[in-house]
């Protein structure tokens, strides 16, 4: 696995997500570009690499986000582990599976984060928050074909298992 490429992808995602929000948002919906990266590495790498990449993605998101530092890394590691453990049951090579899985797990981790925020501040409107989570997850899932294409271009999946 090419770690340098991974960190370059992560840097690009961080820059894109933190600066070009005007270009990628549709109303309230802002896609989470980090999450497809977590899904991609959970599908293609071994346990240890998956955990490290999920953690790095979470830390990158934490760096450019207001709120508790480290919370996204914990959530991403948890979701990455969950995905890694169920990937054997999935037909993970198919695009539809990738989209659906990204959507479902994005819903799960965003809901966990919303609960964490609600407990911390007691300021979220439940219905609006659910709606935001839903459309953001949907938007993220729809970006999966493009994102996976890019990741595959730079990190061909067949190369991951060379060093195993």
């Amino acid at each position: 696995m090419r770690w340098f490429t991974f960190f370059c992808i992560l840097l690009c995602i961080s820059l894109f997500q933190s600066t070009l929000i005007n270009w990628i948002n549709i109303g309230l919906a802002v896609p989470d570009l980090y999450f497809p990266l977590v899904v991609f590495y959970s599908f293609t790498t071994d346990f240890k690499r998956n955990t490290i990449t999920s953690w790095c993605a979470g830390m990158a998101k934490d760096l450019f986000s207001e709120g508790s530092f480290g919370v996204y890394s914990v959530f991403f590691v948890a979701v990455g582990f969950l995905l890694w453990s169920v990937r054997g049951m999935l037909f993970r090579g198919h695009l539809v599976t990738q989209i659906i899985i990204t959507f479902i797990f994005s819903l799960v981790y965003n809901s966990m984060y919303a609960m964490y925020t609600a407990i911390s501040f007691n300021a979220l409107t439940p219905l609006t928050t659910i709606w935001i989570i839903f459309i953001c997850s949907l938007y993220t899932a729809f970006l999966v074909p493009i994102m996976f294409l890019i990741f595959n271009k730079f990190q061909p999946a067949q190369r991951f298992f060379i060093n195993r």
Binding site: T19, M59, F69, G70, A123, T125, I132
Partner: protein
Amino acid sequence: MRTSATSFSSIIKNPITAVIFILTISFVLLFLPPRISNQIRMTCAAPVRPLQLAVCFCSNSASNFFERVITAWHDAYDKSQAEEQISQFKNKVVEQQDTIYKLQNKLQSISGFQAENKIDKRKPIPADIIGYDTSNLRKSIVINAGSKHGVKPDNVVVSNNALVGRVVTAGERNSIIQLITDPGSRIPGRVLQTRELVIVEGDSTGFCKLKYVPKWAKLKRGYDIVTSDVGGYYPPSLPVATVFESEIKSGNLFQSVKVLPKVDILKIESVLVITN
């Protein structure tokens, strides 16, 4: 005999130990006091800030350029306006126009602010927005002014004389601003027309909520909310938002009021940090 470095690498090679190790780091960071964790965040993100600034500048320039192109295309239907615009576009290079436009905006906001606050000793610091929050449920921005320019934590941030938020972390050259729409934001306010005291609370959407509005308060759409001098934290009479809709639910102690912030953060490129 094994060295300590070798034993550490052998520990890390074990997947379970590696996972426990990185999760421990996350939890330690999570339970650190906010002041320390924010400092770590600012330090770690510092190398990326110039890149952020460059990308943001390019994005804004491109956005302005496309906006002008679209405007010009729309205005082509109206001949007189189109002729004026074409003559303007011919005489000016797009990039220069963009720079002039930005500087004019900054100058106007500074002079406007100073004209209205002559008695105050508050000093505004102009800053450009260089980054936005990556989270869907938190609302913050990064600006290119920091402690080196005089910005301190808890300074108030305004744009067009309306409240944008407050500084939560001030790095050397950059600062993180918590917007009024962030779920963690609470602002003591007052309804301009009825003089009711309220708390303006963010809820991670484009709107905010008013807390503790009594049921008998008659709020209408378009009423203004300004900062109150309660607490002495925010400068008084700073416009915050306008009432969008209010609803009285039976059984609730207070009204449920939705307000629209005066400043649309996605439509501004620069802000003023008020230091005192």
